[in-house]
Amino acid sequence: MSLALIAALPFLGALLPGLMIRAGRTACAMATGSATALALIGLLLHAPAVLRGEVVQARFDWMPGLGLNANFFLDGLGLLFAGLILGIGLLIILYARFYLAKTDPMGQFYTYLMLFQGAMVGIVLSDNILLLLIFWELTSLSSFLLIGYWKHLPEGRQGARMALAVTGTGGLAMIAGMLILGGIVGSYDLSVILTQKEAIQASDWYLPALILILLGAFTKSAQFPFHFWLPHAMAAPTPVSAYLHSATMVKAGLFLMARMWPVLAGTDAWFYIVATTGLVTMVMAAKIALFKDDLKALLAFSTVSHLGLITMLLGFGTAEAAAVAVFHIINHATFKAALFMSAGIIDHEAHTRDIKRLGGLRTLMPITFTIVTLAALSMAGIPPLNGFLSKEMMLEEATHTVWAGIPWLFAVLATIGAMFSVAYSFRLIGHVFLGPVRDDYPHKPHDPGFGLWAAPAALAVLVVLIGVAPMTMVGDLVTVVAGAVTGGDVTIKISHWHGLVPALWMSVAAVGAGLILFGAHLRLDALWLAAPRPEAKAIFDALVDGIAALSHGVTARLHDGALSRYFVIFTLGVLGAGWLAWSEGGHVPGLRNVLPIPGVALAGWLLLAVCSVLVAVLHRERLLALVVIGVVGLIVSVGFIYLSAPDLALTQISVEVVTIVLMLLALNFLPKTTPRESSTARRLRDIAVAGAAGLSTAALALALMMRDFAFPTISDYHLANSYSGGGGTNVVNVILVDFRGYDTFGEIIVLGIAGLLIFALAEALLRGAANKRLLEWVPELPKSGDRHPLMMVVAGRVALPITLMVGVYIFLRGHNEPGGGFIAGLIVAIALVTQFMASGFAWTQARQRVDYHAFIGFGVVIAAATGLGSWLAARPFLTSNFGYFRIPPFDKFELATAALFDLGVFLTVIGAVMLTLASLSRIAIRAGETVNTTAMDNDPSQPAPAKGGH
């Protein structure tokens, strides 16, 4: 079976439980188990070849550019771990079937479990370290789901988050480490990397890579000082604890260290970091385990301790120690998984896992007692069980190790670690099973059904078998695996009796002292409880909460909606960046002469400056400010005329009129004054910033005006081709509808959208909370008694046809003289707006049944259709055409497609303005404005009672 398929099978299997749970819990478990079993069979089929020393491979390209490929390989180390993962996985599936309560969603559980299993298998089969990283992070994610499986329990949620944060940190560090490693070697494939020991260890980047990779390994394998997450992960259901937190996931870090051992180990840095961390972890965790009352917490710390032991062995950097590490990995997986499952059984049966509430279970649960005793004795290192064998070998290696010139340090501390291990193992047996039967269990315990104890029993059998006949059972395996780890041939000899070597005496001392500790547990426990000790969870929570609170404080305060501050920062940013750009130099001032300033221009300029300042000064009086804004606009229009830009002037002045009128109408429903909200200091700051921005803009404009173009401009072409190519003598208009008609097309759409959105906005206001305010609206200013004055109505009506005619005229002449669709549209809109203002919206609207949506729609469609028409002539969008015609009695005249386009512009402009007006009127009517039935309040042609006929 292809390795890729083996890695994929658990993922595929993850799809099954969600479905199969519909067929019942047993079917669900069986379906899940079959996927695992299939993968295990596939793996075992490769076993003979691997044990012969061959390496099985499967390769698929994924991202060859990056060097990330789906490359898998299977050697002894991979075989051992994949076997553990799938084998124990199978047992866990069986166990969980009977462990989970009926109310637990079993489908979900198995799905998560299979995702995790797939990720683990992926890690151990990866030949590509980037692929390995992916699976690595996947284990963090799936374990997050598994730890938080009981979502209603706060411990589960918090434990899950803590595990994710810690292992996630390590994972991120490892990303960097792996990328560096790949950079040194030039490949991310392990099969290449593992051959490059010299290159890697000689590189300047070796130490950073080592530290970053080890961060990943240490966090995953719960090494000091990252061990604190593991006990909290025990909030997970017991099958999860047994699987992830003893047998597999926490060993991923060990796997990685073993995998990288050939290229990373053997240096001082490796020894001092890895071996020391392992030693500290082993001793510290073993001590804590002794004082834990929760069965799973005890086992958790014991696990941490044993992981430390294995880490230490790998850290020694010798082939012998690595072989012992491999052997202990196997042993630990067997006895610890059995113990976890047994702890789950006890919890399941007695409804508590508090050691202080247990005791005397020996007779009530004889089967469980047997399993636990065998496994715990192995954990304590009592012969002839398998734990004894590897512990002896570990102690032997420790005696050969010199730490910073101190030859006895490792030996002594390892013995102390072993001593604690003995003590808590005996406590596990003694305080749970021995002693008198109690009558205050939360639930009367008895042995569970076969389904629940079968899995731990199978493991206990292995504990004994490996213990009794180690070479037969695992000799070959350990040899091959150790060979794979060290990258060389290793001869393994596992035996119970090595003679009267120091390790034996250390072992005896550890057992003896351990028993004494166990005996004195009651008094030691009191001391332990009385001593102050840092609570990792509290520190972690405070840290994360602190960071979260700080983050919230910073980001919320920065983004609190204070628009004026945003603008200050914006302006300062612009000024700062602009100054940087300028100050790098390279400016030669222009050579143009300053023209003499005529009096008119000076007066206009002064008026403009004064009015602009007045807007700022008067902005609290909104009506007044609006009037001043109108003046500014007028002066700008005059300026355009003065500078010989009649088109611009016409546009500007009509835009000015329309906007001021619409803004006046809108202002009617807004407060007439702006409250003073900012302090004097704030205003001074704003004045300074705005002043700097204004002066900088002026300086920039001056610098530009003082010089000539560095290149000939494209406008010469426009001047030259306006008539011959565009058929118009008004270059501005030809630019608008032809040279850059596409820009105009965009701009009329902007106008059209503005109309549509103002309509939608008014609609939203009328349906929202503002509606209530409108209904209760009381005008601030006294209403005029004569809302629809006779004079205005009459004047407006007289002006209407004239203005319309002017509009048409302006439109038609646009191509050759100042004018065009845009200006014409505005003029016509002004004429219409006048009618509405004079006689009221509803009255006027009733006489003119047009929906202005249609104007916008038609306008844009006509403009677009004109553009598309050129496709018929196989020309690009918006290509214009024009011709000269003569129909008697008229003079020769020109017809241009551009005029059609301009018609679209014309209609859209009218539509946008009028739709805005309509939207404002809707608001006015909602605010209580009455609908008049006559055109004017005092209509001389009507009898008197019509007055105020609202």
Binding site: W62, I175, F570, A577, R707, T713, F739, S870
Partner: protein, 500 residues
Amino acid sequence: MNHWIIAPVVLPAVMAPLIVLLMRHDLTLQRVFSVAATLGLLTISAVLLVQASSGGPQVYFLGNWPAPFGIVLVLDRLSAMMVALTAVLGIGVLLYVIGSGWDARGKNFHALFQFQLMGICGAFLTGDAFNLFVFFEVLLIASYGLMIHGGGRDRLRAGVQYIAYNLMGSTLFLFALATIYSVTGTLNMADLALRVADLPEGNGALLRVAGVLLLIVFAVKGALVPFQFWLPGTYALAPGPVAALFAVMTKVGAYAILRFYTLIFGPDMETNGTFYADLLMPAAIVTMILGMVGVMGAKSLARMAAFAGIGSMGMLFMAMAAFTPAGISAALYYLVHSTLAGALLFLIVDLVQSRRGTTGITALPPMAQHGLITALFFGAAIAMAGMPPLSGFLGKLLVLDALRDRADMALLWSVILVASLLAIVGLARAGSTVFWKAHASPGDAAAHESEPLAFVAVFGLLALIVGQTVLSGPLTAWLDGTAAQVFDSGAYVDAVLGLR
């Protein structure tokens, strides 16, 4: 003349007014034609993608005027890719809008939506600096309309801030264009590239000022610190699907920076050298940190998604600021990913909002379809935080790899990794509170419509992310080609001005 090039602009530009004209009273009709037009856009963009993949840039001369005197559209791999991304996102968002009934909560949604697509596509396709301004206006005004769709006090208030802030940007855009024109006498981008390269001495300072002003304009769109202030309120308070569509709007800023600062103000130009890159990189770093710090500190899922968007822009700009082919390729990969992932997250947040009535990160009783939405959120969070197995992780690897040979590599890597950690922890905290703690809260799920079409859209986006992950190999190879083309400004200039 290849009319396909203008089709992404013309199709929505015609459909939108037709919707206004003929269908404004019937929502079903609007929906049908809006979907049809968006599917059409998708088809067109696929054709363009195929066309762009083979051969060099293609030019469309509007009005048949020669460059640089008229306006040109330029189709190359980059613009084709951006248009395709817009179309894909557009159809997803549109289906969600219809499925969730968002379009019935206000007027003119579909017309504004089509105009929005038109504006975005136009900005990607144009080869003219002033025309880019026009399309910035189109997409700004349309986006404002969409943003305030449905109304509500907070949304309207945020809308004012959005439009006001972006109008500052528009004004600055005009300043920048005026300065550029005054110095060079042209606004055609290819022509600008030529003229900037040949700039006579004594003009450097002015042109750099123009360049930096333009950079700020694009930075506003791309939410680059310190010009990101408009984003959190806007995205958090906009209708969910609109915020999802906006995921591509920040990319307009990124696209424009990429285009202008390789083609016209590239690091090889004597006038500016690495000046812009040196400004961009620190800003990008702070953006990424600020975004992920915001994720960590957010009190609502909507704001969290908004800050995640800022953070992802930071990472995108970091890759881009390297201005190397590898950096650009990585940036583009991440651009696609972060657009899809950001949109996905916003849609899911909207599912939550519509069922719980709030996106606040607090424990409330389970909502309708709780399990399904939980799973979707988990997926989106993985994507957004850049965790495996989704493309965010691959994008992160690509970015890290692209930044490897720089002197400040240690800083850049630390920023990316630490910011990722903040995102992971922040998303995990929020998710476990909103989705898991709900099981500890008493109360039953309030009934809610099942909205199958909305879920189709959400799953569709997720499937796209998965697709990007699986097809990463061919995609990165294609993007490498795109990055190479981006740096080949000679080919671009020749295509536009060659016919002169």
